[in-house]
């Protein structure tokens, strides 16, 4: 089962979207592509991940075949998309063996993501692997590699700050709402204006557990449309003051030139609310909320710059955590390689055990048959003798080939290996054959009988 891993791909690091999109593989074509790739003798296992930021093939090649596999895929991937391999040769990267494992682990740990630590890639990776496995394109080695990659992703998330802190404006709005309200279930969100950004933020809040969404807009039609989209309630613009008095979180993105959330309005609103906290997320440019309302008791206003500032700070924290993640990845790559090395000798170990078992079984069968046949004739002493002789035969048969090999002319290295394999005490420098437990003639007879 021994194998070597390889990676061929293109990502936001090496190519702009104009190039990436030409190589992107739709889900429907993925299975066919993996089937084609595996026609190459050097590609035993393969999976494909195609997202907006990367198109990559992960695969396993037979021992010594990683370079060939990379070369084959570097040709096959562009060709399958109708792109000349030469056109993208400079942006397609290839990794072999340890480097390939490291790459897969780094991708899973979201170190290679455009937004470091973004969890999205893990889900995509799981889906891609699931699809490839379902299509029968993966095997034990790639399977183990991905399984470890998911383990690495889980580990870095819990042990480092790589995924801490919201990394986009909408998530930051949710995070800030959490700072004020904690649990968002049962909270009421008011969306003022029908901008695209507010839709996104409202969706995030909805996901965070908000169950009451109210939309208001100067144009009732737009309010209705947005309300339908968000599964929210549309209310007339004239009711703004009442709506503000009832809301916990306000997301504002109107196209107004002048602030709509003014100090006089909020003075009335806060008093009606008895200064119960209200959070205003103002993502409109020009701003909808007069910054001075933030001075009022119980009002927390954040504009787009504030949100961006939090994003920048969180990303800086994530980058700081990247070193710790790289260390974890390095350790895990080492462990995976060790596992892979162990896989190389597994067939040998299995064959050796089978061989020993076969020899022993044959002798046991013979002994049992002999004892049954001569049940009456044999006394206790003769029985013992038969059993002892049978055991000696097993030993002789098992030692026959090793002895022959050791007596061959260039067997110095072999002798050392045997001394490592068995707990031997070499008494003096006499040849091993000088006083064998079993005479070589006998062993040969035993071997001959078996044949």
């Amino acid at each position: 089962m021994s194998a070597e891993l390889f990676v061929v791909g293109i990502s936001w690091r090496t190519a702009p979207v104009a190039v990436r999109e030409r190589l992107a593989v739709p889900d429907d074509d993925a299975v066919a592509l993996l089937g084609d790739l595996r026609l190459a003798p050097s590609v035993r296992e393969a999976m494909l991940i195609s997202t907006c930021n990367r198109v990559e093939i992960y695969g396993a090649a037979p021992p010594g075949g990683a370079e060939q596999a990379v070369a084959a895929v570097r040709r096959a991937l562009p060709e399958s998309r109708g792109v000349k391999p030469a056109e993208v040769a400079s942006v397609l990267y290839g990794y072999h063996r340890g480097e390939a494992v490291r790459h897969v682990f780094r991708v899973a740990a979201a170190l290679d993501s455009l937004v470091v630590g973004e969890a999205q890639i893990l889900g995509q990776l799981k889906a891609s692997y699931g699809a490839a496995a379902a299509a029968g394109a993966t095997g034990a080695v790639l399977g183990r590699c991905l399984e470890r990659a998911f383990g690495v992703a889980k580990r870095v998330r819990s042990e480092t700050a790589i995924a801490k802190g919201a990394a986009n404006v909408s998530s930051v709005a949710v995070e800030l709402a959490g700072r004020v309200f904690g649990d968002l279930r049962g909270k009421r969100v008011l969306v003022v204006g029908a901008g695209k950004m507010s839709t996104l933020a409202a969706r995030h809040l909805r996901q965070a557990g908000v169950d009451e969404l109210v939309v208001t807009n100067r144009s009732p039609q737009k309010a209705e449309a947005l309300a339908a989209e968000l599964d929210a309630v549309a209310r007339p613009w004239a009711e703004l003051e009442n709506l503000l008095a009832d809301a916990d979180v306000v997301i504002s993105s109107t196209g107004a030139r002048e602030p709509v959330l003014t100090v006089p309005l909020f003075k009335k609103v806060t008093k009606r609310r008895r200064w119960k906290p209200i959070m205003v997320v103002d993502i409109a440019v020009p701003r909808d909320a007069d910054p001075a309302i933030g001075e009022l008791d119980g009002v927390y206003v954040f504009d787009i710059d504030d949100l961006e500032k939090v994003v920048a700070a969180n990303l800086a924290e994530r980058r700081k955590a990247a070193d710790a993640v790289e260390r974890i990845v390095a350790i895990e790559v080492g462990q995976f390689e060790q596992w892979l090395r162990a896989q190389k000798v597994v067939p040998t170990i299995r064959a050796l055990r089978d061989h020993f078992t076969r020899v022993a079984d044959a002798e046991i069968d013979k002994l049992v048959a002999q004892l049954a046949r001569k049940d009456r004739e044999l006394g206790p002493a003769e029985r013992d003798e038969a059993v002892r002789r049978s055991m000696q035969l097993v030993v002789a048969k098992l030692l026959h080939h090793p002895q022959m090999a050791l007596k061959a002319e260039d067997a110095d290295g072999l002798a050392a290996a045997v001394q490592r394999l068995f707990p031997l005490e070499i008494v003096d420098e006499r040849p091993v054959t000088a006083a064998p437990a079993i005479a070589p003639e006998e062993a040969r007879v035993a071997g001959g009988r078996k044949a």
């Binding site: 004020v180 904690g182 008895r274 906290p277 008791d297």
Partner: protein, 272 residues
């Protein structure tokens, strides 16, 4: 009860508690200043062990027939114990690093103040009424202490949020959300107020029982304390006030309660 029993030396458990409270204080401080979330759990466990040891000491004194409210010394120790217990309860649900860094040293300080305070009233003067008064006042003030610590943190966090100090430690630490702090503080005040009210009423009855003619300076301050908390309960329950205003009231009430204790100590010091 005689004088000997009033000055029963603390059990070894008392000193164990002092050491553990000290260690927990340092632990919370490091958690907060160095942003080491892992230390929070450890500090909490140490505080819990200190709390258990302290409880053991109080129980042991009880067996030795020293009532927790036998004297101000005992009452202060008891107060520290309730603060520690209340904090531990609140810390089950929220990561209250800052609260721990504030409260654990306070517990330690109150315990130290207890050891330094006068050993007790002559036994004859301490009637059942007096003892109940001291017990209730202790519990009430302990609960108010917790409430005001949460209010203080509320004000601090609110300030950070208003000033948008996102790189501030308390922001990064993901302490309890504002609304939870406000709610917990409110519940504590609501729970402590009836207890404290009963204590004040019994205190007045006690004064009458002793036929005191002289108005001691701490009495009016105690009444002001009660009025402050009464006002706080009124605006919260009656008018539905929330947030900063009530937090300030809670702090004012506790400051006034502290003033009562300070005046009491000063008076005792001058009289003694």
């Amino acid at each position: 009860m005689d004088d000997r029993l009033l000055s029963v030396a603390p059990s070894p458990a008392f000193w164990v508690a002092v050491v553990l409270y000290g260690v927990a204080s340092i632990g919370f401080l490091i958690t907060f200043l160095q942003n080491r979330p892992a230390w929070f759990g450890a500090a909490r466990v140490v505080l819990l062990l200190g709390f258990v040891a302290h409880g053991f000491d109080i129980g042991w004194r009880g067996v030795e027939r020293v009532h927790p409210a036998a004297s101000v010394r005992e009452a202060l120790g008891f107060l520290a114990w309730i603060i520690a217990g209340g904090y531990l309860l609140a810390a089950i649900r929220y990561r209250l690093d800052l609260a721990g860094a504030i409260l654990a040293p306070i517990v330690l300080g109150v315990l130290a103040a207890a050891r330094l305070s006068p050993p007790g009233t002559p036994p004859g003067e301490l009637t059942l009424l007096g003892r109940i008064h001291i017990s209730l006042a202790t519990v009430g003030v302990a609960v108010f202490a917790l409430a005001s610590a949460l209010s203080a943190i509320y004000l601090l966090e609110e300030r950070n949020l208003k000033k948008k100090k996102f790189d501030n430690l308390s922001f990064k630490l993901q302490d309890a959300p504002l609304e939870a702090l406000d709610r917990m503080s409110q519940r504590l005040v609501l729970a402590g107020f009836p207890v404290f009210t009963a204590a004040v009423v019994l205190g007045i009855a006690w004064v009458v029982q002793r036929h005191e003619t002289m108005l001691r300076p701490e009495y009016p301050v105690a009444i002001i304390t009660w009025l402050t908390y009464a006002a706080l309960v009124a605006v919260r329950l009656g008018l539905g006030w929330r947030g900063r205003r009530t937090a300030y009231l809670s702090l004012a009430g506790f400051g006034s309660a502290l003033l009562v204790l300070v005046i009491y100590f000063l008076r005792r010091a001058f009289e003694g």
